[in-house]
Assembly symmetry: C2
């Protein structure tokens, strides 16, 4: 009977959104024999942003989701954030981008914090190239483009969920994953138009991004900095640059903005290099040298997240919010996508558990999925919400106005122990423990449900 | 020759300040054969504040400093912060002190975070009783009362340091430790009157403290809460209560204050219970029941720390700042004294090393001490400064104005992962590793010094 769940067929899921997290989740589920359809509203794939970084632990997470994802990352041209032939480790570095010293002063561009991220501890890649290679991992026929979500209807737990698109077509599935990003339509359908958590919230930071050919960056920054990630910090702004592949570096300037950014205004606005230069007036020479290589006309990106109004839950029956749709973070830890990839591993683990469970003890597939998604919410919520908070916090620490006041410098430098702790909390995440916790929590819930 | 350091005699040190940290340091140094004099400005010993808590790791730290310190803590009547005959563990609990629910609503006084501090993981004691028993640990003749510091003069590194008091007397020592608290005169002498780091800085929080007999607390809070530490939190304030011994509980209300507190104003002001009740207007019933037991007339304590202008260093030649004199923190982690006790273990370790070194390879005692104190600064600075920052931060998280807005409650609760991480960073400190690091750093500096 169409529209009814049958327990002896593979689980059938719909993924709303074909971004990095949606495709990684699809890869993980397909790898575990789940029947997957991905619905992407755009006409073709496009990645926003410039470069994206992943820690060694996140790459391990991808490996456990589906080894093909790691292959896509590598074939997409990922490189170590510290390109040093003699040292395979990655380091993240924070240096003084502001204080005016003579170049021969030992305090000139003082190193404020160097964090050792371990061997290949931080890989960076161009977003568009990674996405392009990720698409190839997904079998033909799984991805459906130009499918803009209109509604999701979940009736009885033994019925299929019905998904309607604005082109009038429909699809059905046992479960739906909203991987549709910070502006998630899935989220708005679940929470309602009047809920402030349905909408992104302005972080009061704007970003200017550029991809710069390495040979030009060398002139601006010198060999050492060009080949290694550096964050130049100062009052109310910072500049981060890092190699994104063998030929290019990515550079982003983030500026604090006390003003509001109305939701109805597009999140990108046209701007010029002069705006960036004005925001960094009086900063150190290497910062200006690099900004001079930004395009004369470029976009100003308003940065939004879900900090002010977090969603109350990640699970709604058999519909889940995943990645940015659930917990969009500002980009200051470079860990937003990683957090979505952790979600994908948790959900892949759970659907594998549900499939096994269905074979061993036939029961309502709908009920089993609902229980699994309670586990998903339990396991993923705390850490991913913490990331949203922490990303806001570290940016405020980078941007301390105190950097501009020599009498406040000792205080400003006191922030780095916290920055270190927060970075390590992200980098040292043990996804093997998360997988164990996921399985244990799900089985306990199942056992409780059976007893009831 | 008087006034000159001799290498074959025990190291002779002066401790300025006979508070908890000064006496614990004295106990640690005496235990290691150091010749100690303590100079206290007051006529007799008095402890400010009400109760004080120590983690199991801090108690271990005391044990390594001098087992007699732990005996004093216990004879002073310390108790587990969770007095539960069936469970030897300590727990710290944060609960909703604000949201108005009916008492039979499951959300009434909702538990927001319970942290397991381990077996006897958090001991509390009355400050005055601990101090009284601590004094007994120090041999007669070591402590000199009514000695108010006037100046410290360090000439050549081979000469004794001369300490002058305002009564016209002097003392000499190989090294001086300023354990004279947040208003440290030693700090002011070292940094100068014009340095803002010489003075405490207002944290924009005020405290009201009370000691309440247990039988009265039972009526206000019930048996469960009376015997267990709880932190009732809400917008712009919190109330903490905990058993301080078998007969009493300590209770403190902390209120955010947007105003300034001039440095020339006394840090305590007369206030009445009505002020406390006004600050907690509309809070839950148990909070009001407990506040009703506060004295009708009581002190308002302005809370100061060294957050805005941290001292640039903890070591100045052979003079060191220790405990609050170096890094006074607001009390919101309950770890200010613990941080000073960690300092005392570090310094006890170092003076032991210096003594051993002097016997093995006679060299300038003054130089050896100076090098040791460079190690002290290196080892202790980062963590103790972090505590100052973290204590401010957690209080702001406890006091989030969002608690008053139901639409912001999910956001407000998102703070607890951070509160957990910060608490564990304090509680799980491994002082054995600190001791190893201290010895290693000192020996490396000595080796470098010999090579130069």
């Amino acid at each position: 009977m169409p529209g009814t769940i049958t327990t002896d067929e593979p689980i059938e899921v719909a993924i709303i959104g074909g971004g990095i997290v949606g495709l990684v989740l699809a890869a993980g589920l397909i790898h575990r024999g789940v029947n997957v359809k991905v619905f992407e509203q755009a006409r073709n794939f496009r990645a926003l942003g410039v470069g994206i970084g992943f820690t060694a632990r996140t790459v391990q997470c991808m490996e456990n989701i589906n080894p093909a994802v790691v292959k896509a990352l590598r074939s997409g041209g990922s490189v170590n954030a510290s390109m040093d032939e003699k040292d395979p480790k990655s380091y993240l570095r924070w240096i003084d981008g502001y204080t005016q010293h003579r170049e021969d002063d030992p305090d000139y561009q003082k190193m404020l914090l160097t964090l050792d991220a371990g061997i290949n501890g931080w890989e960076t890649v161009r977003r568009d190239q990674f996405l392009e290679d990720l698409v190839k991992v997904i079998p033909v026929g799984v991805i459906h483009l130009q499918k803009r979500l209109e509604s999701i209807e979940e009736k009885d737990e033994n019925d299929k969920i019905t998904i309607k698109f604005i082109d009038g077509t429909t699809a059905t599935a046992d479960a739906v994953f909203g991987c549709d990003g910070i502006k998630s339509t899935t989220r708005k359908l679940l929470l309602g138009k009047d809920n402030p958590a349905s909408y992104p919230q302005y972080t009061h930071k704007v970003a200017y991004r550029a991809l710069i050919p390495k040979e030009k960056a060398l002139e601006a920054l010198g060999e050492y900095k060009t080949n290694r990630q550096h964050m130049h910090i100062g009052p109310n702004a910072h500049l981060i640059h890092y190699p994104v592949n063998l030929k290019m570096i990515g550079a982003t300037v983030i500026v604090s903005d006390p003003n509001d950014w109305p939701l109805d205004k597009p999140t990108t606005a046209r701007a010029s290099r002069k705006d960036v230069e004005a925001a960094l007036e009086g900063w150190c020479l290497p910062v200006h040298n690099l900004v001079r290589l930004f395009p004369e006309e470029l976009d100003q990106w308003a940065l939004f997240d879900l900090f002010e109004y977090p969603v109350p839950a990640y699970n709604y029956g058999r519909v889940c919010l995943v990645g940015d749709a659930a917990h969009a973070s500002s980009p200051h830890h470079g860990a937003g996508a990683s957090s979505g990839i952790e979600d994908a591993l948790c959900l892949s683990t759970l659907l594998d558990e549900v499939s096994t469970r269905m074979k061993e003890s036939p029961e309502s597939k709908g009920k089993a999925l609902k229980t699994a998604f309670e586990t998903y919410n339990e396991i993923r919520r705390t850490r991913s919400q913490w990331l949203v908070n922490s990303s806001r916090r570290v940016c405020d620490l980078f941007h301390q106005p105190e950097w501009a006041d020599p009498a406040k410098r000792v205080k400003a430098e006191g922030a780095f122990e916290e920055i270190k702790d927060r970075s390590f909390k992200i980098w040292h995440h043990d996804s093997a423990i998360m997988v164990q916790d996921t399985i244990r929590d799900y089985r306990e819930r199942q056992d409780r449900a059976v007893k009831v």
